[in-house]
């Protein structure tokens, strides 16, 4: 008895494999590409089209493309995309009409501004000193771009252009529109009928018309609005137009957040004896604003894309600078498509990373609800 007990050690039998393979690439292909005859047919059809299309695109865009800035090589028979046009013209596309020798200034200024935007996106920077940093960076940005101090030559705003202008328009209008949007959103939920109707009219009026009509107004009608003799820079006028436009959209997003705060919160604040502004500042806004961050972020993305419209009122931001670079040069004009693809990629990189960031913020904000 004892002998057998000593010799028989518990040996578990190895688990049998699952009857049908449910893991690994083979199973994934089976479940996602070849599940039944319909799925298989779709896979074959789409796969066939992709197999036919992708090599052609690759041939055009990579293998047969011309990378040297030589338009004769680009015009050669059988040549693919002409990326040489970018190599030749990238400084005009990115910096517009800014004086060629001074282009290190917009480069540094834009790098600073992008750095600031990236910094503001990080959690460790969400502190009280951030607005101060914004103020400093904007001062440096304008000093660098405009010059006329510290031994820098003066460059008027009508020569600013390209990517610096795009980022400037988007970020300044974001920053300036936020306080306006906040006040308008509060005003739309106010008990005072006059204030409520003014805010409603403002928001509905702006949201009912296209941005381009606001920009036309800024460029044609704004000079008439000012007292005789007062001249306002066209960049500033367009900036005011975009800011007022963005504010109406942000106000609606913020109003959505305000409405999502339960009524009991406001009633509890009233019970504690808080005044209207105390209630808004300490109870309502902290809850509402956390909810609207993704929405505001989406508005920022659309404002970023909308800045391309200022090219219609003759400010040469990225889109305008690109037309400027190629339309003035008959040799390179036939390669406009490559130029458009290049700036489309720039826009895509910015907008895509911002929308990814917006997703991340959304998960951060929702963390408190997922307990």
């Amino acid at each position: 008895m004892s002998n057998t007990m000593n010799t028989s050690v518990f040996k578990p039998i190895a688990p049998r494999p699952a009857p049908v393979n449910t893991e690994g690439p083979v199973a994934w292909v089976r479940a996602n590409l070849l599940a039944d005859w319909k799925t298989t047919l779709a896979t074959l059809l789409i796969g066939g089209v992709l197999l036919w299309l992708v090599p052609q695109l690759l041939n055009w865009g990579v293998f047969k493309a011309v990378w040297i800035p030589n338009f004769d090589a680009c015009r050669a028979e059988g040549a693919g995309a002409c990326w040489g046009v970018i190599v030749e013209k990238y400084r005009i596309i990115i910096f517009g009409r800014y004086p060629f020798d001074e282009q290190w200034r917009p480069l540094v200024a834009t790098a600073l501004l992008i750095g600031l935007l990236v910094l503001s996106c990080m959690r460790m920077a969400w502190k009280a000193w951030l607005p101060l940093v914004w103020l400093v960076v904007f001062t440096v940005f304008f000093t660098l771009m405009h010059g006329n101090t510290l031994g820098l030559s003066q460059v008027d705003t009508d020569r600013w252009g390209g990517l610096p202008l795009t980022i400037l328009l988007a970020s300044v209008s974001l920053v300036l529109s936020f306080p306006i949007a906040l006040l308008v959103a509060l005003g739309r939920r106010s008990n005072l009928p006059a204030i409520r109707s003014f805010c409603t009219i403002y928001v509905e009026l702006i949201r009912g018309v296209p941005l381009i009509s606001v920009l036309f107004m800024a460029s044609f009608m704004f000079p008439l609005f000012m007292p005789p003799g007062v001249k306002i820079d066209v960049l500033l006028r367009v900036l005011v137009g975009i800011t007022l436009f963005a504010a109406a959209y942000s106000a609606e997003v913020i109003r959505g957040g305000l409405q999502a705060v339960p009524k009991g919160q406001i009633e509890a604040a009233a019970t504690l004896g808080l005044s209207y502004w105390q209630t808004q500042r300490k109870i309502v806004l902290p809850q509402a604003l956390a909810m609207v961050v993704p929405g505001i972020m989406n508005n920022f993305i659309s404002t970023f894309k909308d800045t391309s419209l200022v090219t219609i009122v003759s400010l040469y931001e990225l889109t305008g600078a690109m037309s400027l670079a190629l339309n003035s040069d008959a040799d390179w004009r036939p390669f406009t498509i490559e130029g458009y693809i290049f700036i489309a990629l720039i826009y895509f990189v910015f907008c895509f990373s911002m929308s990814r960031y917006s997703h991340w913020v959304e998960t951060q904000v929702n963390k408190s609800k997922l307990r």
């Binding site: 896979t43 009912g208 008439l224």
Partner: protein
């Protein structure tokens, strides 16, 4: 009995909320009135100083410019108001067509995100990410360049069956209007009535007996058959006005200009990516148990989508979808960048010719405001119809 009501508050004290509210509103009204007066005063002074005329009387003067494309004949001798009308119809034409196409494409892409096929899912996702992250203006410009530079000249147009595609745009055959078409229209009317009556009967039959007859396909077939019968009665004309290659351009048939095609494609493809996200969000918002319950009841996939998922998803989809329709209509104003004669482009020309900035820009704003409000009202009505009927 003594009254327990608190002593009456002094209505004219700073401590009264109502009084403070009144003061705030008076201040707000005064401030806004002041700003409006300031702007109006400056505008009038500036106009007097610069000798700018004002008023809408220019609308009845001859326009003096031709318009590239319009739904009805227009020449430069006709007055400005008719030019504006051409612009409005052009805007509406591209907006309505764009809305229809973008809805179809967007819905397909949105539903495609739930496909069991990974390739379909991946394609829909990459489409959405690619198209919504590039400015719509850039897309319009890109399509316009592709349509006017990559396509062959009209003498070497691509022939796709009866269609001709070239730098000159898309030419397509149109049927010659004859008695047959008129009879088809006559046939359509009783067909519609008959189809509607049959559908009513089928619904009643279904409610009474539970036997589901054909409620969509058969009525549609009745309508179709009736109009075909009318067409056959009218002599069954099959004559088409086909386009053909002329010496310099493609002649006859219907034509769409490259400007129109570029605006339409740009707006449709851009807005479809947003509509796809709206549709995806709507379907994702329906609780998982709903679909499972539907299959437990024995509904098939199509019935589950049509009777259970979509009615619930629609409630979530419609408000943001309305916004996308309005966005598309407003974005059609970008047509000015590629020279499609929409209302903004006409207003811009009129502004440059007459110098009446205030009037021209107000007309543009008024047109868009009324379209926006009209669409919003229509969609709100539809939204209230599809909302949950609560007690």
């Amino acid at each position: 009995m003594t009254s327990n009501t608190p002593p009456k508050k002094n209505n004219w004290s700073w401590r009264s909320q109502a009084f403070r509210g009144l003061i705030y509103q008076v201040i707000a009204i005064a401030a806004i009135a002041g700003v409006v007066w300031f702007l109006a005063h400056n505008t009038l002074t500036n106009m007097r100083v610069r000798g700018i005329q004002s008023g809408f009387d220019f609308l009845s003067q001859a326009a003096g410019f031709d318009i590239g494309e319009s739904l009805y004949p227009f020449d430069s001798a006709q007055p400005y108001w008719q030019a504006f009308l051409v612009g409005v119809t052009n805007t509406l034409r591209v907006a309505v067509l764009g809305i229809i196409l973008a809805t179809v494409l967007g819905t397909l892409l949105g539903v495609g995100r739930f496909s069991r096929n990974a390739l379909v899912r991946g394609l829909c996702l990459s489409y959405v990410e690619a198209f919504r992250n590039i400015p719509v203006l850039l897309q319009l410009l890109l399509w316009y360049v592709i349509l006017t530079e990559v396509l062959p000249a009209s003498s070497e147009a691509w022939v796709l069956g009866p269609l001709f595609l070239s730098k000159g745009g898309l030419n397509f055959p149109i049927p010659v209007w004859g008695t047959g078409q008129l009879w088809a229209a006559y046939g359509l009317l009783p067909g519609l009535l008959l189809g509607w009556a049959y559908r009513q009967w089928a619904v009643k039959q279904f409610e009474a007996t539970g036997k589901a007859g054909s409620m969509v396909i058969l009525p549609a077939l009745i309508v179709l058959l009736a109009s075909v019968a009318g067409w056959a009665l009218g002599g069954a004309p099959t004559e088409f006005n086909r386009p053909f290659k002329g010496d310099f351009s493609i002649e006859n048939g219907g034509a769409l200009t490259p400007e129109f095609l570029a605006v339409l494609m740009g707006l449709t493809l851009y807005t479809a990516s947003f509509i796809a996200e709206v549709v995806r969000g709507g379907i994702a918002s329906v609780a998982r148990g709903q679909g499972e319950a539907a299959s437990a009841l024995g509904l098939n996939k199509a019935q589950e989508m049509r009777l259970v998922m979509l009615p619930q998803a629609l409630r979530v989809i419609i408000p943001p979808l309305t916004n996308q329709y309005l966005n598309l209509t407003k974005n059609s104003s970008l047509a000015v960048a590629i020279g499609y004669p929409d209302v903004v482009s006409i207003a811009n020309t009129a502004l440059n010719q007459t110098g009446r900035a205030v009037e021209c820009i107000s007309i543009v704003m008024l047109v868009y405001l009324s379209t926006s409000l009209g669409t919003a009202l229509l969609m709100n009505w539809y939204n209230s119809r599809s909302a949950i009927k609560e007690r």
